[in-house]
Point group: C2
Chain length 401, copies 2
């Protein structure tokens, strides 16, 4: 009798974005001619930059010629050309990682979700709340105990560690999804010290690092002394370079990072993770890896930075709107997300429905990211300038005094 | 204290193809100017066909234009254009599946490895031995008990069920990797009946179905009555269309397939698997899905079938060589693999070293696929005609009387 993984029964019923999609589809079905502006799911709207498209097409051509065709990657961990490019990218903001420590994946979500495979069910997982739902869901599926560190109004939605609470695995995300808050170096140092004191591992999600413009803010946890002993960093090209539909990311696993065997001995995280990938993954599409390499070329960097600047111009318009309305928010600087307190004292799903029905703007209810998100709401800066302006005008009409 | 998944300690030390790669690299380092012929790892050598390359380039261009850019896929389960194409492909050999039952992935290895996520550790897994190592490794990682059904000389390397043995999950692969044997409809019916009697699920690996030319042999487990109640089918474009480095596959999950909850009630396999994918996967790259769609176009099918025919011409040359040497083998017909008894009564790693050192041909030691593989050896038909001929000449010199 084939028995299910019973931990799936402990999952919340529906994945946040599926529920949003359902409500939006229903609204569109009832109002097929209206213009909906989507600022909900964190998807980008600008196309891949020319350097990336050219690289992908060139690689596709190579795949069509016997002499340059590529089959299975030897390692499945990424081609050296891309791993070197990521290493050099880190160097550009002052962080030293080895090329071999850069492991290429089909996106941050896959690595975030799959990394639990190498951990015992007998670990306590600390997740900041609110958070990207994959952290909780993948650990619930893995049967691990999940506890939360509150990100809330009082701490500017930047949860800090509590020395009286023990954790074995810690998920951090900065710039934060959904709240847009960004940890300072001093704050991250507190987390690193806490992790080392607990012999814990930090899973650091840096998917939004490219949106940091303030040079004082850390773009990688490896800016922090001691982090190589206690952290892995998961990153993505989805937001950095519009790869949401192209699928490529990377995870940095320092060689010196260790987990514990059942008898308390050290065992290499790198060895366990590459063993997992060696058995359940076969590398990223070669043309996609060439496209990713082009993101890090001087031309690709210039083009991608221009796209990010345009999204951040949207964020500025949004921040100004909330400022003018006197609505409390975090993010909008060094982050493509704005996280604000629902007007009218509404809860976040009710405000979702109001915003959809009365302004035809799609956002994300904060409650979908955790209990501290209730009464809060996320909008993204990933739409076009024109749509962002229009959405903010509608928002002012809906929420202005 | 972050604790490892202790099941990893039960894994065999090294993944088969990593060990082979290591030995080959060492040999090449010592003999840098010699011509090695690789017939080991099941990688293809012919480039992507023109229809596929053109489709990928066209999609890359679409990704560079705002109006046609695609971000996240709504479902992450595959675009309808590709799911429909796979449904129609199945129809072409007489199997009805619904488009919604076709779930697109980045390759059969990922789905094979990840599918364990939805099963309880408390299941007995039956794997035919020898087998593709991912079946065993992913279940060992998941802490499940693994038992084996022997594929051996006596049964033509086509293991059959034993009514006195109970299993909850069954892995079958036909045409088989590594042995090249192909189940008949009558044999598969026995497995389906066995699965239904045990309330078990069959994970059916059909990665090599495109190599079947005999119309009497089943290209899908869904040719068999009852299979929709007890089986999922995992397939890949790696061998069908040379996607080893392009990465795309699909899994067919019938709507009526059920697992059991801890209280013995039915729960939908489809629902569990799509929930898993919804939380740990974000879909396949859009240009890769367009490339995959092109495989199933009339033009793509004609081109891919010509490539497969050329590989099967190699297999014929190999089969004739073994016939002429009087070496016992399976496969070589309806399969790109030939599985033969090591000459000189050698064990399979010793023969691997002899073949590498004395004929400079790389094969795969049968022992790497399980205990019944010892004394047996796998060669693939995926090299070029020229190299296949040369390898067979060398083989004759090495093993001829």
């Amino acid at each position: 009798m084939a028995k299910m993984n019973e931990s799936f029964l402990s999952l919340k019923k529906s994945y946040l974005f599926i529920e949003i999609g359902k409500r939006v589809r229903e609204y569109i079905a009832a109002h097929p001619d209206n213009k909906i502006i989507r600022m909900g799911i964190g998807d980008v709207t600008q196309p891949l930059v020319p350097a990336v498209v050219e690289a992908m097409k060139k690689a596709a051509d190579e795949m069509g010629v016997k002499e340059t065709f590529r089959g299975y990657e030897d390692s499945g961990l990424g081609y050296d050309f891309l791993r070197d490019a990521v290493r050099d990218y880190y160097k550009s903001f002052g962080v030293e990682v080895k090329s071999a420590e850069v492991l290429i994946s089909d996106g941050a979500k896959s690595d975030c979700g799959n990394i639990g495979d190498i951990f015992s069910a007998d670990n306590t997982v600390l997740i900041t709340d609110p958070a990207y739902p994959v952290y909780v869901d993948s650990n619930v599926m893995g049967g691990r105990k999940v506890i939360f560190a509150d990100s809330n109004e009082e701490n500017g939605f930047a949860a800090m560690p509590d020395k009286n609470v023990h954790a074995d695995i810690i998920y951090l995300c900065s710039p934060n999804n959904p709240t847009g808050s960004v940890y300072t170096k001093a704050q991250l140092k507190e987390w690193v010290d806490y992790a080392i004191a607990n012999d814990a591992v930090i899973i650091y999600d840096a998917a939004y690092e490219a949106f940091i413009s303030d040079p004082e803010l850390p773009r990688s946890i490896f800016c922090i002394e001691g982090a190589r002993k206690c952290a892995v960093e998961i990153c993505s090209l989805s937001k950095t370079a519009g790869f949401t539909g192209t699928r490529c990311g990377y995870t940095i696993v320092p060689e010196e990072l260790m987990l514990k065997t059942p008898t308390g001995e050290d065992i290499s995280f790198y060895q366990l993770w590459t063993r997992r990938q060696g058995s359940k993954f076969n590398g990223v599409s070669y043309p996609v890896q060439r496209a990713a390499e082009a993101v890090f070329s001087p031309e690709g960097q210039a083009q991608c930075k221009a796209v990010i600047a345009s999204y951040m111009a949207n964020a500025k318009i949004m921040a100004e709107t909330f400022d003018s309305l006197g609505i409390e928010y975090t993010g909008g600087k060094n982050s493509p997300y704005i996280w604000f307190k629902c007007p009218f004292g509404m809860n976040s799903w009710d405000f979702f429905d109001k915003l959809l029905n009365e302004a035809e703007v799609v956002g994300t209810p904060g409650e979908g990211f955790g209990k501290n998100g209730d009464g809060w709401f996320r909008l993204t800066a990933f739409n076009t300038l024109e749509n962002t302006k229009e959405a903010m005008e509608r928002f002012k009409k809906l929420c202005g005094k």
